[in-house]
Amino acid sequence: MILAPRGSIPLVDVRGLGRRIPNSSHWLYRNIDLNVAPGDRLALAGPTGSGKSLILRAIALLDPVDQGDIAWCGEPIRDASVPTYRRRVLYLQQGSPVIEGTVADNLKLPFSLHHRRGQPFPRTQARELVAGLGKDSSFLDSHSNNLSGGERQIVALLRALLGDPTVLLLDEPSAALDPQTTASLERLVQSWHSAAAAERAYIWVSHDPLQAERIADRVIYLKDGSIVRSS
């Protein structure tokens, strides 16, 4: 069972996380300790190959690890609860794919899955989010093939937000985006967070130190798979 967030207990608690290259003694990352409390705005920064994205994937429980534990609200996550955990701690892939169909089809995707069976699609919220981006509601009918790279990334973020996560794991969401789209995306995440800052949190992976300082209250710097400093 996945517990509801409780007071000061960290939402996500990562202890001693490590992963080796298969059949090798070389560690991709090791001894990673971090936690995310309600309200946190955390950035993982570091050069390419420092392990930021792999650590974020591990927190999303997408990859097996060789050591360490991840707890949700102080409790270990059982196998059967992993899909529920991922709904709460939602990972947005770098260059997240959009499915064949319209923008609306993409936004409805989470609601077609087993765990949301019977849960209505929040149509009004979807329209509001789209309007907040300065687009009219006809954007919802645009075909995914006609979207620019930036629009695809925005659609992926909207799809994630409509899933109502508690923690967002953002893997370089603005990589390869122009400054204007990057600003829209940052605003969207900030407004999602501030709408329920006492409950929500995010971890944002960025290779850009300036962006990391801009969007986070706390920055963890990584190098060669280890935490080198935290500010």
Binding site: L62, P64, P83, R86, L90, L113, H115, G163
Partner: protein, 268 residues
């Protein structure tokens, strides 16, 4: 020479005469510089040696007519089919050999058992004249379906990795995330038998029916056998492909709903 039965018995000289026809292909290969000469020679030699050896073994098994050798031969055929099905795939992962062999074993023996015991009602059930050709035809087709299914499954997962992971990140179970690839794989595995059934008798006469006609069986009887065998092949292909793909799914998606993409490697 007309034998005691109603078919023409071939001498080894007549077989040798047919072998000369392969030379025609050799001439074509040389004239067009296809570079197939060596492959042709090896393939022709393998056909000859393999079939002569099989003939010798079957002669013994038919003469013995005991369930032991029939089951032993059936097991060897299954192991070879399981190996051959994986050899044709372009991607590998841990457990693919077991997935292939186990699904071929269960599906082919189950369907062959049903055919011998319940449909054709052979007495005794292990009569080599029926058991071995039935199993042979079933295995030959099952391995095609299974190898196509396994190949397509790994390919769909590798090509669609982002989409599989998208589903998982949105809270899908491993089953929901893998289902599109599972469906694609099973459909692909079923295509050859569906095509064969669609054109059966129109484009070509199926092998078993041809054999029976050559052996002097009346066409109306040969047709009945062929219909039965086509349906057996369709069911074993479906069962075997679904089994192999599901076993592979359990290998590639663990209990924590993780897709183990890194365990998939390119063959050879």
């Amino acid at each position: 020479m007309i034998s005691q039965g109603s078919y023409l018995e071939l001498s080894y000289w007549q077989v040798a005469l047919a072998t000369l026809l392969i030379l025609l292909n050799g001439v074509l290969s040389t004239a067009l510089r296809l570079g197939l000469g060596r492959q042709l020679l090896i393939a022709a030699l393998r056909t000859t040696v393999q079939l002569l050896l099989v003939g010798l073994v079957l002669q013994k098994v038919f003469a013995w007519s005991h369930w032991g050798p029939v089951l032993g031969l059936g097991l060897i055929m299954v192991l070879i089919a399981g190996w051959a099905a994986v050899r044709r795939t372009s991607r590998r992962y841990p457990g693919i050999w077991l997935s292939s062999t186990l699904s071929i074993l269960v599906s082919s023996w189950l369907i062959a058992g049903l055919a011998l015991g319940a449909i054709v009602r052979v007495e005794p059930w292990y009569l080599p004249q029926y058991a071995i050709p039935f199993l042979g035809m079933i295995l030959g087709n099952a391995l095609t379906g299974i190898s196509l299914g396994l190949d397509r499954f790994a390919e769909a997962l590798v090509q669609g990795r982002d989409q599989v992971e998208l589903y998982l990140t949105l809270g899908a179970t491993r089953w929901e995330a893998a289902l599109p690839a599972i469906r694609q794989a099973v459909r692909t595995g079923m295509i050859p038998i569906l095509n064969s059934m669609t054109v059966a008798g129109l484009v070509s006469l199926p092998g078993m029916m041809t054999g029976q006609l050559l052996a002097g069986v009346p066409p109306s009887e040969a047709v009945k056998y062929q219909i039965v065998i086509m349906f057996l092949i369709a069911s074993v292909t479906g069962l075997g492909t679904v089994g192999a793909v599901l076993l592979s799914y359990l290998r590639l998606f663990n209990h924590r709903h993780q897709f183990l993409a890194d365990t998939i490697t390119n063959a050879g």
